[in-house]
């Protein structure tokens, strides 16, 4: 029967998530993990750029821009913090350094996106597109 397995599996996953979410100590990131992180940051940057371009064109509401960009910012910021304390696996130090820098820039841009004026939006959109372009 599948049913009794459900709580056990759920508990296992919940436990793993708690461990992952606890973020205690620094982790060592392999090239594969860094690539994954880079993809995730690229996604956030591209989404932020799309939102900024739409807002610039008058297509978005102020509330949606503020709330949605905050979700993007929080995720980028969490990523930036974990990258800044992570150690790189042998041969991946340069990539980690690059990602940490870009994650920091991305966080700052996304934080600003929520309350940027209409005049600031085009520059912000370009910055976010640049960050997305530098990530894999």
């Amino acid at each position: 029967m599948s049913a009794p397995k459900l709580p056990v599996t759920a508990l296992g996953i919940a436990g793993a998530l708690l461990l992952a979410a606890s973020g205690c100590g620094s982790s060592t990131l392999s090239p594969k993990a860094l690539s994954q992180e880079s993809k995730s940051l690229k996604s956030l940057a591209a989404e932020g750029a799309l939102l900024a371009r739409d807002a610039e064109a008058g297509k978005s509401t102020r509330i949606f821009r503020r709330v949605h960009s905050e979700y993007l910012y929080k995720t980028a910021s969490k990523s930036s913090t974990s990258l800044s304390t992570a150690k790189a696996a042998p041969g991946a130090a340069q990539e980690l350094q690059k990602l940490t820098k870009l994650a920091g820039e991305l966080s700052a841009d996304l934080k600003h996106l929520g309350d940027a004026s209409n005049e600031e939006l085009p520059g912000l959109a370009r910055d976010l597109e640049n960050v997305a372009g530098k990530l894999e």
Binding site: A3, T9, A46, S60, F64
Partner: protein
Amino acid sequence: MSLKNVLAVALGILSAIGGFVDIGDLVFNTQAGATFGFQLLWVVVIGVVGIIVYSEMCGRVAAVAKRPVFDLVRERTGFGAGLATLVASQVVNLMTCAAEIGGVAICLQLLSGLPYRVLIPLAVAGLAVASWVLPFEWIERVFGYLGLCLLVFAVAAIKLHPDWGKVAHGFVPGSHSGGSLLVYLYFVVGLLGAAMTPYEVYFYSSGAVEDGWGPKELNLNKVTATIGYGLGGFLSFSLMIVAAVLFLPQGIDPQFLGTPALTAEHAFGKVGLLLALVGILFAVGGAAIETCFSGAYNTAQFFGWRWGKRERPAAASRFTLAWLVIFALAFLVVITGYDPVKLTEYSVIFSVVALPLTYLPILLIANDHTYMGSKTNGKLANVFGVVYFVVIIAIAIAAIPLMLVTHGGQG
């Protein structure tokens, strides 16, 4: 058929279309489109046909036996198997209900700008009041009709000018590109799970009894299940298409409930954005009520309690208490702050594991002359039913390993 009946059928179909999409469809269809483009459209077709086949069976059982499916599950399969089915369905219902409530709160936040944590209790209170005050058919109609705002995604899919040749190609299963085979299979499982979620058939079946269906409604059952769910499937196609056109080329992986709304915003500006948000709000709000009621229906039917939205709350007190408790438990899950989108991914994958426990009793009862008399499954219904059951077994076995190996589709 009189004009009044045609109107009733049309209204039923409209609410079925609007009520088809829930948070699971939103999450999996947009993520699949953003990862594999149009290549997984064929899976939506398979999922939609599956839910049509089994909903038609459920509706027929309810109309002929005048009893909903879960009422018959314990009687037909015995206490042990019935209890296992109940536990599995309740775990999935609760997770899904919590995810939908989180989705409602996020939509309200994107519309109002108020803090998420403040909106969670407001969302639960609003849904509970709507469930208490509105008659059954009005719950279906209000949430179903306003959920039709999601049609903005269908229009956006046209406005964003996809390559229709590639779209057509996506309806044919074949080789894939853009991600690993395991991630592709994970999305196949997730899309099927999202389309064939157990609560939908339980709610459909109990709803048929609530609406007083009898043998006269067998044709209405066929039409509602086939056209309602069939057209509802177009919303799933639309979500996948807009994500494929807008997100895939830019490398956007939709991880937030507001992300799909960006497609409507991009295509139609503020009006599109607001339609998308209102559509999502009522689609996930309706699904929250459906999952909650589905849980209460199942519990009441299993233990033989008096049940039904048509009953006065005091007359069906344990049923009423059951859905209030489910809302309260779902509230406790959401208020922890766990991401509703992640919760959706888990609830859909766990629902896949529970699918055989849901669909096997339906197949057995729909073939049982004791309950169905001359209205048992025909050859076609049985061929589809058995083929789908084999598919369900396969994806139920593969679901959790695929989720773990692919890190929830992240590769």
